[in-house]
Amino acid sequence: MNDTIDVVINGERRAIAPGATLLEVLAELALDPRAVVVEHNRRIVRRPALGDVRVAPGDAIELVHFVGGG
């Protein structure tokens, strides 16, 4: 039995704990949930719901923030 599952975060394959929530994924990556916007399988997940959404194998997660731009 595998002790991790593969998901794609910002285009990179990453191994995470099975059953992890999005909030736990952010914690694992040392990201402050207030500083990023999370898109899970193309759906935006609002901050208060991050702890409720569990990640499944093959899920696509995008973590974005504001950078310099014109």
Partner: protein
């Protein structure tokens, strides 16, 4: 900073129900470092500052969010959809930007051509319709085509942003007639976005009567961005004041400024 003319005759710029004192808006891209960027923005006097939405670098090899260097309470953050080539991508980026929680304004860009970065007007209109319906205040980056500008206004855009010349080109205002026509025909604010290269370009652009200018590269890529930001601030104010003052008519022949009478025999 206000001039005597501004005090008497100018009203502040209002977009999507928000009022702004500065008619100069600036981007935050391409600066060599964050310190230069913050000092340049300060010197520009801008209130509206644009930002882009991008992936967080998971390995932290790149810099952190631009918000570490810009106080969102002090500046009005205007997220763009730069880099989007389809309406659906632009809509996706706009929704992500709004989720960051600062405001529901978006500078909508749908690019149609990689070399010129000219807008895809069909994609732009499609995205504008959807985003307006979702409650966004859409500031639409477009070319200097009147009919597209009118359609964007009809679609409910809060402002229309015709280009002076292509993004990052620094070629200045190539088509003053078209920009003037757009300004004359639209009711929503017209903010020229992209192409200004130096202060005289900004001044000439404001003299067309437009409501404001958004620029990034002209400041960020100047030899001294902070000094150029200051120059741009003055140029935008000068151009606005000159527009309000109303220029003299052009004539093809000379007219003496001193009396022709009273000359010695």
């Amino acid at each position: 900073m206000t001039t005597a003319v501004d005090l008497v005759r100018d009203a502040p710029l209002t977009i999507g129900g928000r009022t702004f004192q500065s008619r100069l808006m600036v981007g935050t891209g391409k600066y060599k470092d964050h310190d230069t960027m913050t000092r340049a923005i300060e010197a520009s006097g801008a209130e509206i500052v644009t930002v882009a939405v991008r992936r967080v670098d998971l390995d932290r090899s790149k810099e952190a969010s631009v918000l570490h260097y810009l106080d969102p309470k002090r500046f009005f953050l205007l997220a763009n959809t730069a880099g989007c080539y389809t309406a659906s991508d632009a809509i996706r980026y706009a929704r992500l930007a709004r989720e960051a929680g600062f405001n529901d304004f978006v500078k909508l860009e749908v690019i149609g051509d990689e070399e010129t970065l000219l807008p895809d007007v069909q994609g732009l209109l499609d995205a504008a319709v959807v985003l307006v319906k979702e409650g966004f205040h859409v500031l639409a980056y477009t070319n200097e085509d009147l009919v597209t500008a009118l359609r964007l206004e009809d679609a409910g855009c809060a402002a229309v942003m015709p280009l002076a010349s292509p993004i990052g080109s620094g070629l200045g205002l190539l088509n003053p007639f078209s920009v003037r026509t757009i300004k004359r025909r639209l009711h929503v604010p017209v903010v020229v976005d992209a192409g200004v290269g130096t202060a005289s370009d900004a001044c000439v652009t404001m003299e067309q009567g437009v409501d404001g200018i958004l620029m990034n590269t002209a400041i960020a890529a100047a030899q001294d961005p902070v000094a150029m930001a200051h120059a741009m601030r003055l140029a935008v104010e000068a151009g606005r004041a000159a527009f309000l003052a109303g220029r003299m008519p052009r004539r093809e022949v000379a007219m003496p400024s001193s009396p022709v009478e009273g000359m010695l025999d």
